[in-house]
Structure formats: structure tokens, C-alpha cells
């Protein structure tokens, strides 16, 4: 297993995907959704993956998030061959190294902002006395530290998405995956969210992959890739 990842390098390669394909077997036969995909994302980079509906964006996101394995190819995160990990190892890897921001900003029902951010810390086994500070720090990154005990169903759409970002940050991930993070937000809130993304990548040097079909979101990214008919260009 390769582990050449340099912890002190501010531009170290975090995501290293080579010749990745993903096939689905359907009643109509085998469909190849991702074809020979190569993606390399360094620390501090925010890469936009664009493409029309059905181009394989979601599939790429699920593979990147270790939700499903590719059919062939190599995939390393921070020097670890994540495809060789067991189911439990992948779950631990996800909570230690990855953060997710979803389009529908899935916050837990009937819970407060604090409880939403506490859950990843519980899974990571972070001691209870350390949690309030970690949660406040993550919320302060998105300027929501004053809303820590607010019920999540009383937040606006923009605030919910910011909580979702804070939750992705709370476990101090090496890279963040965002799926249409501004898809349900108005322009003003979208700009604020993208500013936070920029801040995270610049200040924390976290790598980020943003799956989107919104041009404005893509413009805020440091690099733009387009997925067409399963091929990733850019």
C-alpha cells in the first residue's frame, strides 16, 4: 500500500484517482457510467465537477465518498488505498478524513444545531468535555456560533446549509465532498456559502470537490472539471 502522503506539504496530493470506471448491470445490459476517470486534488484546491443530468456526477460522488466501490481503477486518499479497506475501516476513514455537504442539507429531525454537530464526534469517540469547543469552533467558521442550541427546524435554508458545512468540518477532515451545496439556496445565501468554502480551503487548506451544475458555484472553484458521457475532462 502506497503511503507517500506528506503531512507537512501544503500542496500535498489528497485525492488521487487513476483509470477509474464504474459499471452497472441492468436488465438492459451493462452500463458504464464512469469511464477511465482520473482526478487529482491537492490541499487547498476546490475542484468543481460539472456535467449534465445523468452524466455520472452522483456516481462519482458516491465513489469518492466510499459509499460504493468502483468497478476498476485506483483510488487513494491522503496516501491510503481506500479501496482495499474493509467496510468498518472505510466507515472510520470517512469520519476521520472526509466531510460531506449535501444539497438537501440533511440535518437530523427534531434536534438542535449542537446535536447535529455532536453526532460525528460521538462516532469518532471524542470525549464529551472536548465537544463544545470543537462544535463552537466549527460553527464560528460559518458564523453560526450564536445559534448553537437552536432547533434545526427553526433555521433558514441558508443557515441549515451552513450548519451542514460546520458538521462536515467538525471532525477536521482532509477533504470535503459537496453535492450541489447551493442547489436550494437563493443567490445571496449561495454567495455566502461559497465564501465559506473559499475560506475553508484557503485557511484550513482542506481539499474540496464540489459536484454542481451551477456556473456561479463553479466560478468560485480553483479548478473546473466536466463530466461528459462518463469521461472527466479538465
Amino acid at each position: 500500500m502506497s503511503n507517500r502522503y506528506d503531512i507537512n506539504d501544503d500542496n500535498a496530493l489528497v485525492i488521487d484517482i487513476n483509470h477509474l470506471t464504474k459499471n452497472y448491470v441492468t436488465a438492459a445490459g451493462q452500463i458504464t457510467v464512469l469511464k477511465d476517470v482520473n482526478l487529482h486534488v491537492r490541499r487547498g484546491e476546490m475542484v468543481a465537477v460539472m456535467g449534465p443530468s445523468g452524466s455520472g456526477k452522483s456516481t462519482l460522488l458516491f465513489v469518492l465518498g466510499l459509499f460504493q466501490p468502483p468497478s476498476t481503477g485506483d483510488y487513494q486518499v491522503a496516501g491510503v488505498d481506500v479501496l482495499s479497506l474493509s467496510r468498518d475501516q472505510q466507515a472510520i476513514f470517512r469520519r476521520e478524513m472526509l466531510g460531506f455537504v449535501f444539497q438537501t442539507c440533511d440535518l437530523l429531525e427534531n434536534s438542535t444545531v449542537y446535536e447535529n454537530l455532536e453526532l460525528p464526534l460521538i462516532y469518532a469517540g471524542v470525549p464529551r468535555r472536548e465537544r463544545p469547543d470543537r462544535i463552537r469552533e466549527a460553527l464560528s467558521m460559518v458564523n453560526l456560533d450564536h445559534r448553537v442550541h437552536q432547533p434545526s427546524n427553526r433555521l433558514s435554508g441558508g443557515e441549515r446549509q451552513r450548519v451542514s458545512i460546520a458538521r462536515a468540518l467538525v471532525n477536521e477532515p482532509e477533504f470535503i465532498l459537496a453535492d450541489e451545496p447551493t442547489g436550494q439556496l437563493d443567490r445571496e445565501n449561495s454567495l455566502r456559502v461559497l465564501e465559506y468554502f473559499t475560506k475553508i480551503t484557503e485557511e484550513a487548506r482542506t481539499a474540496m470537490v464540489v459536484v454542481t451544475h451551477d456556473a456561479m458555484t463553479a466560478e468560485h472553484c480553483t479548478r473546473k472539471c466536466v463530466l461528459t458521457d462518463g469521461y472527466l475532462n479538465g
Binding site: 479497506l85 475501516q89 470517512r94 476521520e96 469552533e137 477536521e172 482542506t206
Partner: protein, 417 residues
């Protein structure tokens, strides 16, 4: 700033994290999250909670009060058949060979486990009295003050003689109802009258009443001390009646009596008479009643269990996306499994707590009704049994839905609409 601090992770590190993560604090957190989840969605659990609580309360009341109930039933049913009264007697022999009960023998029998009371009688058949020049024949019984209690007799009129009358050898008598009507014209008319029996005068203090008094409607009863001292030709106490606490004790007591008698005196001609047929009928009736009650309780609990299973399955389905989200955040399969299992346990255990409270109220109410006090240890035992059963029910009913939740694929859960 901690966010953005550099991390390097290896496979060995992942395994080390997995081992470290399985500490008690993690389970404490999972329990806390589960309890919070159940509390916030408590409305959906109310029906199941009530079903299990009622079953649990019934279980605790029946088990804790069962023995007192049985004794009470015993008392009521016994009035009809005397199923728990054992007659122990020495068969009539030649005069010099006739045996009768010695005091130490009676005391030893009273100490046999399951014996509630014992009383002995002396008898003279064909005693006579005259009233207004008419002659009346009857059986004359000398008995102790507890005779009435053993046979559940009461006074139809007047009173039954008591221990003081026995101790003092009072010249009082209790008359059977039919005999009283024959002699005095009515039952009440005899109270306070004086009867001459074998040249001794006795004041009639009461008329015998009770469900089984019909068997002794033509008897006259004297205190045993009076009978022994004043009635010529009355027998020695060769017959005794043993009352058992419940019908379950009859068999063991009847088996133990011969040995106890033999250990204390000569047992020549000893006979133990048990009303086996009424006893079996009572036992059969109660067996069916018990079966019905326990079946109802078990059915209630099982229905509660199915309710939990059903609700947990619905919960898992409705929270599919949440499960996916938690897995995306790094929850292990075991984290999801334990969370749903703890939620099921939380429902069944809180139901059982309500059941225990309801059961306690039921016990207090029944204790007052029956005038008895069940042992506190039995209640604690039932409480622990109930909690144990609730835990089994929770795990049993919640296991499959929890396993289903834990094995869910992240991608399927995330795509679930």
C-alpha cells in the same frame, strides 16, 4: 485553529481507532441519543407502551398476589366442598386399645408446613334433651374454639362460644339450626334458653350457621373442656381436622401426618381422610383460571412485542435517509445496530417501569381488599423478572429491524426518497 490540522492515517491506525472507539463512553452516548430519539417521538410509541405496561402490571399483580388470591379462593371454594380439610382419626377399637390424639401430637401436626389450623373433637352419639315434655335426640360434640374457623362456620343467631368459654369450661352450647327449630319453634327463640343435657344445664348462646352447617344441623356443640368434664360417656378426642393453607398443600400434609403421629404416639388404627375428588375439581378449575390469566398476560406482552417490531420496522424505513447520513458521517454498522436496539429497549423498559408502577398500585388495592400483605421480596423478584422480560422483549422485537438498519448500504439509503 484546530480545523485544518494535518492528519495522516494508516490502516493500522484505523484498526487502533476502531478498538479505542468501543469504550463504555461510546455506549453511554448511543444510549443517550436513543433515549432522546424515543422521547422526541414518544407519541408513536404510546399504544405499544400501554400494552406492555398493562401486561407487566398484570404479571406482577398475579405473581405477587397469587398466593393470597389462592388462599382467598381457597376460603371461598372451601365453603362448598371442604377441599382443604383433612380428617385424621383413629378407627374405633376395643376400649383398652382405642387411641386418641395427645396434645404433643396435635402440636407437631400444627407445625407441618402448609397446615393452617388443627382442631380436635370429642363425640357422643345419641345424646338426648327434653323441652316442654318432649324428648329430642342428637349428636353431642365437644369442640375447641377454633373449630368454627376450621370449618368456616358462623353464628346464624347469637354467638359461637369462644376461647374464654373453652378455658373456663363454661356451661354454654351452640345448637344446629334444624334442631333449634324442632326444639324451640324458631332459631332465634332458642337464644338464651337453658337446655338440660345428661342432667346438666347449658345456656344456648348461638345457632350454627355457614355454608356447610347443613351437615351439622342436628348437632349440639359444647366447649371441649366442658364436654370432657361433664358429659358421661363422651369419647376421647380420637378425631382431628387439619386445615391446609391452600389445596396445593393437601397432598404433602396428608403424606406427612402419619409419620408425625407415629413419632409422637402409638398410631394404631390411624386413618387419614382426604376429599380427593372435590380437591381435584378445585385444582382443575384453578388450573384453567391460571392458564387463562397467564395466557392473557403472555398474549398482551407478545402483542406488545409485535407492536415494537412493527414500529421499529416502520421507523427504520422512515429514517432510511437518516441512517445513510449517519453512515456517511462515519457510523459503523454496530453503531446503527446498537442505536436502534437501544431505542427498542428504551421503549420496552420504560413500558415495564410504567407496568411496575401500575402493578404496585394494583397490589396495594388488592392487599386492602384481601386484607393480606404479600412479601416485599416477592414484589422485588417480580420487578426484576419483569425488567428482564422487558429486556428480552426489546432485544427480541428490535433485533431484526436493527440488523436491517445496520446492514443498509449507504448509497441505497442516501438515494432513498
Amino acid at each position: 485553529m484546530a480545523i485544518g490540522k494535518r492528519k495522516k492515517i494508516t490502516v493500522a491506525e484505523l484498526d487502533r481507532i476502531r478498538r479505542r472507539g468501543a469504550g463504555p463512553m461510546r455506549y453511554y452516548d448511543l444510549v443517550r441519543v436513543s433515549v432522546r430519539e424515543v422521547m422526541r417521538k414518544r407519541r408513536r410509541y404510546i399504544g405499544v407502551l400501554a400494552s406492555i405496561a398493562l401486561g407487566m402490571a398484570g404479571f406482577i399483580v398475579i405473581i405477587t398476589m397469587g398466593n393470597d388470591l389462592k388462599k382467598n379462593f381457597n376460603n371461598d371454594l372451601d365453603l362448598l366442598g371442604g377441599a382443604t380439610i383433612i380428617n385424621v382419626m383413629f378407627e374405633p377399637q376395643n376400649l383398652e386399645r382405642q387411641e386418641w390424639f395427645r396434645d404433643r401430637t396435635l402440636e407437631a401436626i400444627a407445625r407441618i408446613p402448609g397446615v393452617l389450623d388443627i382442631t380436635t373433637v370429642t363425640l357422643k352419639t345419641s345424646a338426648v334433651t327434653t323441652w316442654h315434655d318432649r324428648l329430642f335426640g342428637f349428636n353431642l360434640v365437644g369442640c375447641e374454639a377454633n373449630y368454627w374457623k376450621v370449618f368456616s362456620f358462623n353464628a346464624k343467631a347469637g354467638r359461637l362460644f369462644d376461647q374464654r368459654d373453652v378455658d373456663e369450661g363454661a356451661r354454654v352450647c351452640v345448637v344446629g339450626a334444624d334442631l333449634a327449630r324442632q326444639i324451640f319453634g324458631s332459631e332465634d327463640a332458642g337464644i338464651g334458653q337453658t337446655l338440660s343435657i345428661d342432667d346438666n344445664l347449658y345456656t344456648v348462646v348461638g345457632i350454627l350457621g355457614g355454608v356447610r352447617a347443613g351437615d351439622r344441623a342436628l348437632f349440639v356443640f359444647l366447649p371441649i373442656t366442658t364436654a370432657k368434664a361433664r358429659v358421661v360417656g363422651i369419647s376421647q378426642p380420637y378425631s382431628a381436622y387439619v386445615r391446609c393453607a391452600t389445596w396445593d398443600d393437601v397432598s404433602s400434609v396428608s403424606k406427612a401426618v402419619p409419620g408425625v403421629v407415629k413419632a409422637n404416639q402409638i398410631d394404631r388404627g390411624l386413618r387419614v381422610n382426604v376429599a380427593w375428588e372435590p380437591l381435584k375439581q378445585v385444582q382443575r378449575i384453578f388450573w384453567w383460571v391460571e392458564l387463562f390469566i397467564y395466557s392473557s398476560i403472555v398474549a398482551t406482552m407478545i402483542l406488545g412485542g409485535f407492536g415494537i417490531w412493527n414500529i421499529m420496522m416502520a421507523t427504520v424505513t422512515s429514517r432510511t435517509r437518516e441512517i445513510g447520513l449517519k453512515k456517511a458521517m462515519g457510523a459503523l454498522d454496530s453503531d446503527i445496530l446498537y442505536q436502534f436496539l437501544f431505542e427498542a429497549l428504551c421503549v420496552t423498559l420504560s413500558s415495564s417501569v410504567f407496568g411496575v408502577i401500575l402493578g404496585r398500585v394494583g397490589i396495594e388495592y388488592m392487599s386492602r381488599m384481601l386484607g393480606s400483605r404479600p412479601p416485599e421480596g416477592l414484589f422485588v423478584f417480580c420487578l426484576l423478572m419483569g425488567l428482564g422480560f422487558a429486556a428480552i422483549l426489546g432485544v427480541g422485537a428490535g433485533l431484526y429491524p436493527s440488523i436491517r438498519a445496520s446492514r443498509m448500504q449507504v448509497v441505497d439509503a442516501m438515494r432513498y426518497e
